[in-house]
Symmetry: C4
Subunit: 214 residues, 4 copies
């Protein structure tokens, strides 16, 4: 924007990528803070500790789920910054909007860890993670899809990643009617979707890879 | 200061920028820790969870507000380290003074999130964020305005960013008399100021851009 | 995977190493959050504070123990990324699986800090840290042992580090029967093993070093 | 230690410096977590919030004090990694021992913030920060003083920084007898010492600078 002489090699995209990584790292690690056991008070027996650990299992499951989803979003964000084509003021804003949704994740994770049997908790969680996926898709569109030559290989690859972020979002939104029937069923949907993701993504990557080469 | 032979490429400004980014990243992510729901105890019903979530809305609003303000300060700090002209012991101290005010932000954010209807809370918040803006303006002055050739393009650009930090500060200070009439009105002022910022900053950037080119 | 033009120098392994370091740094520092004293209420006397500090000693011991183990794992991970031979999608997944176990460590550390006299707590801790060691060994195997020319010097060196991670894991698993007899004895085992590690590792390194040179 | 082919530019000292910076950044920012206000319950009046904020002042003072001391230690550590002369397994261990004491600081900061009027709290704080200074001095000795050519300019400069770390340590140890008379007097000593440090350090630097040039 300004014609400053830049004295410092670590400029622009790489420092933003660094800040984003740090935010990801802190957000992913703060998830563990929700896993505290209740104070057992004076009756510290094996049985009571085992009961407290068992009661913490849903929190641990939601910790792992949020960890995996944040990791997937990080991988996508990591790729984006390798191929970024447009870096300006608006990209910074969109990136901060995305990071805001990432920073927020420990909150719905805590809610679903404690009250996972309630519909409200599952909907808050699904809504929050859908928002993260959506803002990641917008980021891909703005920084890599839109500025690339239309229908060229970079454009197609960037669209592939944008679609993936949208699909993650869509899965969380699609789970909301299921949650209204049964929160446990909705939560099962997410796990099924994650496993499907790992299986399908491999296939899609291979296809895309082949298409690139031909 | 010393004529050491430097063995390591990652020296001076870029490592300080790295440390500052890490502090920003942690401070911005710690904001979420204030968003815990109260323990619902044994009566875990949809209605009670919804009430607890509704009660958390002011905390979420102050989380978003602090996130946006920290992000704006980061963008300014990020630019400063791209154009830094003076890097010495005193800059390190001024930078740490600035980081101290950044690290502190989760505290007033928690206060206003819980007691936002009280004047005291709103004043503590406004005062704390005004201090952050002020120390950022001092940093710009020391590292980029004062050492630049007077009235040259770099000097004018650096002054532009210093003024912006001062304006943010001034908005928070100016909101204090409004808070004394009504805390809600004062808090509304900040949102209006933020929106005005995004609209005006674009215009100012364009003007400054034109002036640079001519 | 895609033939993108890469605009950014900070690519691939070094950004993953950076993210991993940030996760390590946060996880290792969050351990301290479990060291809060109970509220002494209105009776704030020297004797009561001293009693509370004495009661915190087991938590401090488990803080130091987890710190040392995480530091050892970091050193190994740090070496791995200096010599990494295979960097692909699967490596990213294995690295995230490893980071998941690292992020989790503050939880069992808190459990053993508060309930260290119970067998359940010691087993949870041993199991969790064994899992971390195991996933680090898998990471070494995949990224450095398997892709290296068989029986060459790099292969032997990578196997040496993989074995060390496995040994750490084995020590924690082997301590479980000891814990069943007495948790205190099991915890003593870990300290003995750590000291043995520092003594033996030096010897092994020197041997390996000599073998390299000959 | 091993004759690996190194594939990655970001090796050795700079990645250790990065990890250390991240630990510093997290530790310095976690200090704020101790500044939570007590729950005011249902009686949320201006007077009660002001009383709660006043009661938090000692915690804020200890937050600022710890922030300043950690910042000073960071500046010293930052310089050390610019001039590091020996980088081996033992340096890694000494650096982790130093980081352990840095990570620990939020704990004594919390103790003195809540129970600053008790001798025990002040002694725990002084002892903890003395230990940090001591381990930093050892780090300087091992990595920069001992391996430098004796009595050369680098040796003298490194000794200067080692001495400073020792002096910080000595001030905290020397304050312990004062604390035994009055904790408030001991805490005043630290502030006086800090101000003296900023005044004297400038003088010493100028002297050392002159000596270098002559």
């Amino acid at each position: 924007m300004y014609v400053f002489r830049v004295h410092n090699a670590e400029t622009g995209p790489s420092r933003v990528a660094g800040l984003s990584d740090a935010v990801f790292a802190v957000a992913i690690t703060l998830l563990v803070l929700d896993l505290r056991l209740p104070d057992l008070g004076s009756q510290q027996t094996e049985a009571r500790l085992q009961a407290a650990l068992l009661a913490a299992v849903p929190s641990i499951v939601s910790f792992v789920l949020s960890f995996v989803v944040i990791a997937l979003y990080w991988v996508s964000h990591h790729r984006l910054f390798q191929v970024i084509r447009r870096y300006d003021r608006r990209l910074l804003l969109l990136n901060f909007a995305f990071l805001l949704t990432v920073c927020f994740i420990p909150f719905p994770t805590g809610v679903i860890g404690h009250y996972g049997q309630l519909r409200t908790a599952a909907i808050v969680y699904a809504g929050s993670l859908a928002l993260t996926g959506l803002s990641l898709a917008v980021l891909w569109w703005y920084a890599a899809v839109q500025p690339a030559p239309r229908r060229g290989p970079e454009w197609r690859a960037a669209r592939h990643f944008m679609s993936r972020a949208l699909v993650t979002s869509a899965v969380f939104i699609a789970s909301i009617p299921v949650i209204l029937i049964s929160p446990a069923l909705g939560e099962a949907c997410w796990s099924v979707a994650l496993i499907a993701y790992f299986v399908l993504a491999r296939g899609l990557d291979r296809q895309a890879d082949l298409r690139e080469r031909s």
